[in-house]
């Protein structure tokens, strides 16, 4: 199984568990963050086109900026 397929299956499993009430919001968040870390590591090795990279940058910046500000708001 390719890495992308494995990660997609994990994502679907997380979504399904959350829908069924098997995961709390916090557990769901943790699962998504774990998946995000694995994805980020995998993407470092990917040959992504310049065009795709440019399109992804704003999303990353917004996510990172918001998270850092929220961390600061929590005093960290």
């Amino acid at each position: 199984m390719r890495r992308s397929e494995a990660m997609m299956e994990r994502l679907k499993a997380l979504n399904e568990k959350r829908k069924n009430g098997e995961l709390s919001a916090r557990e769901y968040y943790k699962g998504l963050m774990d998946l995000l870390m694995e994805l980020a590591n995998s993407l470092q090795e990917e040959n992504i086109s310049e065009e795709d990279v440019k399109k992804q940058i704003p999303l990353l910046k917004v996510f990172i900026t918001e998270q850092i500000k929220k961390m600061a708001g929590r005093g960290n």
Binding site: K54, K55, Q56, I57, P58, L59, K61, T65, K69
Partner: protein, 157 residues
């Protein structure tokens, strides 16, 4: 002020009298009048800032930003308490998500995105596959006027 708080929940703030200069590579390097690479009829950052200021004032808008597709601001005219970096990045992100999902749905590329919030509007439009223009408007603004203002910016870039 947090961009999202501004859009979704607080009254209109005071504005600086003069356009807020955008920190760009060109300005940082002291080349404010250098034409934008690959630019069309609109040549300089200063001209872009003047254009934004004029369009905002003439149409009763709150502010406007021109960014590149990576969400880095090129020129802006904004209330003093709004962060051009955040608006530029958020606008490019909104556009990227919309474009991706609508293309997948067979609707083609996004022409513009209009968001109505409790206290106003945000309109985002891609221009020439190089720029992202975003305009903030108060609640009592007419959407037609806002869209017309965005088009007038587009024509001059």
């Amino acid at each position: 002020m947090d961009f999202f708080k501004k859009i979704f929940g607080t009254p209109e703030p005071e504005r600086k009298e003069e356009p807020q200069p955008a920190e760009t590579l060109e300005t940082a390097q002291g080349e404010e009048d250098k034409p934008e690479e690959g630019g069309g009829t609109m040549a300089t950052v200063k001209e872009m800032e003047k254009l934004l200021a004029q369009v905002v004032k003439d149409n009763g808008l709150e502010g406007a930003v021109i960014a590149d597709v990576e969400g880095l601001p090129i020129a802006s005219y904004l209330p003093a308490d709004l962060d051009e970096d955040e608006i530029a990045a958020a606008s490019a992100a909104i556009l990227a998500i919309s474009d991706s999902k609508l293309s997948e749905s067979g609707k083609g590329n996004v022409a513009q995105v209009s968001i109505e919030a409790e206290n106003g509007y945000l309109v985002v439009k891609p221009i020439k596959e190089e720029y992202v223009v975003s305009v903030l408007a108060p609640k009592d603004a007419k959407l037609g006027i806002i869209l017309s203002a965005v088009r007038s910016i587009e024509k001059k870039i």
